[in-house]
């Protein structure tokens, strides 16, 4: 009998160069979504230091905020959040059946806008850490 050859998934992701706009949007949205959930959990964890005492809380926050890495991570978080929001809006529109034909353009627009917002807000974010 004939058999067949299963190429598996690895080969598929080896083709990333050939992915279309909608696929990138999906991948980015997924990635940013996961980062946001991750952040949500850490965020609450950090905030719960308030339960141990006022000073600890203020202290934790301020130590964290004085670290450059944390500031950079925050910029990253902003980028992730902004992209997720913008693309999320794009997806909401798609769900409503609005502007399906421009779906690739709106993805590029989300990317560009995210970039712009992030760049513009860098000064605010890193202010005071140096």
């Amino acid at each position: 009998m004939s058999q067949s050859y299963n190429r598996g998934l690895i080969e598929d992701f080896g083709r990333w160069k050939e992915f279309s706009a909608g696929m990138w949007a999906w991948i980015f949205h997924k990635f940013t979504g996961w980062v946001l959930v991750g952040y949500l959990f850490t965020h609450i964890a950090v905030l719960s230091t308030a339960l141990t005492g006022q000073a600890e809380y203020t202290n934790t926050i301020q130590t964290l905020e004085s670290l450059l890495v944390v500031r950079i991570l925050e910029v990253g978080l902003l980028a992730v959040a902004v992209f997720h929001i913008l693309n999320g809006l794009r997806l909401l529109l798609v769900d409503l059946g609005v502007g399906l034909h421009a779906q690739d353009k709106s993805f590029y627009a989300s990317l560009a806008l995210t970039g712009a917002i992030v760049v513009a807000s860098v000064p605010t974010f890193v202010a005071g850490v140096f």
Binding site: S2, Q3, S4, Y5, N6, R7, L9, E11, D12, R15, K17, E18, S20, A21, G22, M23, A25, W26, L91, V94, D95, L96, G97, L100, Q103, D104
Partner: protein
């Protein structure tokens, strides 16, 4: 017109003799030109990477043939002519270089849906893709996400199963009484389902969809589109529509779609698949709201 028009035939043959001198000179010129072309064609063929050839890199695999059990890519240099499609090139390679090169094809006009291939990184019909639109070398592979039977032939069983799982046939309880009476359908309604009826079962969309690749139970864009074709057909009636929505609303139905749009992009029949899927999602939500 008539098939028997003697005068006209006379015209034709007299034209034959009258212009013979000029005609002959002309034919002579033609012959020379033709010879010239032939010579060029031969040259092109021998000069493997000549300007007028296209380089194809074709995926090869055969579970039974020793050298092909490990998949590999073969190179074929195919002489180009204007209008040549990927399918033409494959046929040329098969008929002139390697008769064991295997792929499905039949109609050569984008209607039988048998030659969906993965060409330079996207799902296309071989017969509907002009070589001149592609970058060289042209890499031709079987459809991703499906198991390869041999060379470019993939196993379509799963695709057929999905298509047939959505009750892909017209069902209605009230046909007109008169024997020779058709059901009525408004133009608008026929227009609405028109695009969805164009599917040729090529499987390109399924192959392009990441979700379908990961979730074997996902109905997939083509089957959902098939269901759309009936769900939106007013001739079937409300009850049937409810029934169809139930099929579509299952966990592996419309909800699995993540609006990646790859299906819509690759569909050779330009069916707005994502749009249809989204419309069904909204339809499903509307349906369910009643019970909340």
């Amino acid at each position: 017109m008539s098939t028997q028009v003697p005068e006209q035939v006379e015209d034709e043959s007299s034209a034959d003799t009258e212009t013979s001198a000029a005609q002959q000179a002309r034919m002579e010129k033609k012959r020379q030109k033709a010879e010239e072309r032939e010579r060029q064609a031969e040259e092109a063929e021998s000069a493997a990477a000549g300007e007028d050839t296209y380089l194809l890199k074709v995926f090869r695999y055969d579970p039974e043939v020793a050298g092909k059990q490990e998949p590999r890519f073969d190179d074929f240099h195919v002489p180009y002519h204007k209008g040549m499609t990927v399918l033409d090139a494959l046929m040329y390679a098969r008929d002139h270089y390697d008769s064991s090169l295997t792929f499905r094809h039949s109609c050569r006009q984008a209607i039988c849906g048998s030659d969906a291939l993965f060409v330079n990184g996207s799902q296309r019909l071989g017969c509907k893709t002009q070589l001149s639109d592609l970058e060289e070398p042209v890499r031709i592979e079987p459809l991703p996400h499906q198991e390869v039977v041999k060379d470019l032939v993939v196993d379509m069983e799963h695709f057929y199963d999905q298509m047939e799982s959505v009750e892909p046939y017209f069902q209605t309880n009230d046909l007109p009484d008169g024997e020779l009476e058709e059901q009525r359908q408004t133009r608008e309604n026929r227009e609405k389902i028109k695009m969805s009826t164009r599917c040729i079962w090529c499987g390109a969309c399924m192959s392009s969809c990441n979700i379908a690749a990961g979730d074997n139970k996902y109905l997939g864009p083509a089957a959902i589109n098939k269901a759309y074709r009936f769900t939106m057909d007013e001739r079937e009636g409300e009850d049937m529509k409810q029934h169809r929505m139930e099929i579509l609303e299952q966990e592996h139905g419309v909800w699995r779609c993540q609006t990646q749009f790859s299906c819509t992009e690759v569909c050779p029949k330009d069916i707005p698949l994502t749009e249809h899927i989204q419309e069904l999602k909204r339809e499903a939500v509307k349906n369910n709201l009643k019970f909340w």
